[in-house]
């Protein structure tokens, strides 16, 4: 599908190496991720100074009541964008389910639990081999589902804090302080999770930019998504160009 020239001008034979690439994310998914990333970054940047209002860095950002007002407005607008994104994501999932077209790759399975167990055994040198993963390994599923639920909590609690007077017309008042606590705590847990878990896996372990570029190269496919790779390579289907070699 896509080919890349390995630029090796200094090599003696000056061979052109072909690297086969495999599509991993659709354009819409890449946009979803980019918007999500931006939203979370802005929400954290505008939310954390409000939470840690006694710190020096927070007071540098929130330097006046007007600035506080602006920051809250940015937070609210970004929250609306994130809500729209979540609605789009859920709507798409519902649409795909209705058409029986939802790829089940991201759904957690029992296999993930045994994968996690085997991975743990591998990490403590009991097993020699890493388990072979499909399109999404259990680490990536944990990332997705953790953020899925924490964004859910953030959005619900956020709207309770934004419109407490309206919401308590229907729901009991006690949810307002509960929402404040949940919003504040969940934000920290999520931020730590992203930095610890997600950043480790996509930046440190290997630089995985497939969510931006849309594709993965053959080496990475074979190493990290062996099941998917062999499935694609051995059983190339007519409707699936991914395994095809084109140059």
């Amino acid at each position: 599908m896509k080919s890349q020239q390995n630029p090796t001008p200094s090599s003696p034979d000056n061979r052109v190496t072909l690297v086969r690439t495999f599509p991993r994310f659709k354009l819409s998914q890449r946009w979803e991720h980019a918007i999500l990333l931006l939203c979370i970054a802005i929400l954290l940047l505008t939310g954390l100074p409000q939470k840690y209002n006694t710190t020096v860095w927070s007071q540098a950002i929130i330097s006046s009541p007007d600035r506080l007002n602006t920051i809250q407005q940015i937070h609210h607008i970004t929250a609306l964008v994130l809500s729209a994104l979540v609605l789009y994501h859920l709507g798409k999932a519902v649409y795909l389910i209705a058409r029986r077209k939802l790829p089940g790759d991201m759904l957690p399975t029992l296999q993930d639990i045994s994968d996690a167990w085997n991975m743990l055994l591998y990490l403590i040198y009991i097993k020699k081999q890493k388990p072979a993963f499909g399109k999404y390994n259990f680490e990536q599923k944990v990332t997705y589902w953790f953020l899925f639920f924490s964004i859910g909590i953030m959005i619900i609690s956020g709207y309770v804090m934004w419109f407490p007077e309206t919401i308590t017309r229907i729901l009991p008042g006690g949810i307002v302080p509960a929402a404040i606590m949940a919003h504040s705590t969940e934000a920290i847990v999520t931020a730590i999770f992203i930095v610890l878990w997600h950043f480790y896996h996509v930046h440190f372990e290997r630089l995985n930019l497939s969510i931006f570029s849309g594709w993965l190269n053959e080496d990475d496919m074979r190493t990290y998504h062996a099941l998917e790779y062999y499935q694609l390579v051995r059983q190339p289907r007519a409707d699936q160009v991914s395994g095809d070699m084109k140059s």
């Binding site: 990490l123 007077e165 009991p172 006690g174 302080p177 606590m181 949940a182 969940e186 480790y200």
Partner: protein
């Protein structure tokens, strides 16, 4: 034989030197040199003990010139030797110089400045007060020293303590009446309670400031906390001393603390203690007339949150710690995160640490 070294003579030298210093101190210390020549009282009273002695001012007002010598003896000044002439500096003998004041008030406002002679600190504090501002603005009835303390018969102003609200109440009648029926005022009048605040506890004494300013507003929770966060004092009355600390982590309290610390002059309306509990009319929360009584709470909330429904009062955690009975939702969320957060972070942390160790170990092994 032992020879006496100079060191053995030291105590004697000390004694002699000390004696000389003592003598010189006694000799040359000006003993009460500042005491005025005050043998005036007896002399003045020879005329002024006449109850009928009076003067008519140009405004037609009568000025009584009678001094009750018995009561004068109970004043803080007279028995301490501070007599007539100390204040009436312009009158040294009889006949007196002519009095040119139009009204009694004019006379008072001139005479009171003699307080400054001995009480300069408190005098200058009053110049910084709301009362001085009112006088500058033209209200000649704004109080001066003698209006609160008295003139000839000056007693310690806080003996008894119940006297203080009555003194302020001479002018601030409405506030005084309301205060008397409040939980604080009631305890003061009924049982002479030594802990409840009187006017000056909150408003200050000489440099009383305008309580309607934003600075006063944002500092007000601290003012209440000076008693209500005092464990020992609150325990006496079976009250919680956590009300302030719980308020300060609440939505209102956080807001107010930010404004207090950083923008104390910027207008801001997050609720402070008095917004809900009242000011001079504070009642016990279980009093049916209290603004924070359960049945009045919604109306109180609606002052700032117009149109909120009856569920709204449940949003107020009510100065109580998180508990299943009082704040069930908060309790569940709190319990959830107190387990979820450490569990999640430990599991993920350990997993990433193991991954990192294996990753580095493999890398080192490959490079060998």
């Amino acid at each position: 034989m032992l020879k006496l070294s100079p060191i053995h003579k030291l105590p004697g030298i000390f004694l002699v030197v000390g004696f000389i210093i003592l003598i010189s101190l006694l000799k040359f210390t000006p003993t009460q040199a500042s005491e005025p020549e005050q043998q005036t009282e007896e002399y003045c009273l020879s005329c002024h003990s006449n109850p009928d002695l009076k003067l008519t001012l140009t405004s037609g007002e009568e000025l009584s010139l009678y001094i009750n010598s018995d009561e004068l003896q109970t004043s803080v000044h007279s028995p301490n030797g501070i007599e007539c002439e100390a204040c009436h500096t312009n009158i040294t003998t009889y006949p007196h110089p002519a009095i040119n004041y139009q009204t009694r008030r004019e006379l008072t406002r001139v005479y009171y400045s003699t307080c400054q002679k001995c009480h300069p600190d408190n005098y200058s504090r009053t110049l910084d007060s709301m009362h001085a501002q009112a006088a500058t603005a033209g209200n000649l009835n704004a109080p001066v020293c003698t209006d609160c303390h008295g003139s000839h018969y000056i007693h310690p102003p806080s003996e008894p303590r119940t006297l203080i609200p009555a003194t302020c109440g001479n002018c601030h009648t409405q506030e005084f009446t309301i205060y008397q029926s409040s939980v604080h005022g009631n305890a003061l009048t009924q049982e002479s309670n030594p802990d409840v605040p009187v006017c000056t506890t909150c408003h200050g004494v000489h440099n009383i400031h305008d309580p309607r300013t934003q600075q006063f507003r944002v500092a007000e929770p601290d003012l209440c906390a000076s008693c209500h966060a005092n464990q020992e004092m609150m325990a006496k009355y079976g009250l919680s001393a956590d009300v302030y600390s719980l308020y300060s982590i609440s939505w209102h309290g956080v807001d107010v603390s930010v404004y207090q610390a950083r923008w104390p002059t910027v207008q801001h309306n997050s609720a402070i203690c008095t917004d809900c509990h009242g000011i001079h009319n504070i009642l016990k929360p279980d009093d049916p007339n209290s603004s924070v009584n359960r049945k009045n709470l919604l109306v109180t909330c609606q002052k700032c949150h117009p149109g909120v429904g009856p569920n709204w009062i449940g949003a107020w955690t009510g100065h109580y710690k998180v508990s299943l009975q009082r704040t069930p939702f908060l309790f569940y969320v709190d319990s959830f995160y107190s387990i979820f957060t450490p569990v999640i972070l430990w599991i993920f942390g350990i997993y990433i640490a193991l991954q990192f160790i294996r990753f580095m170990a493999d890398r080192v092994r490959r490079s060998l």
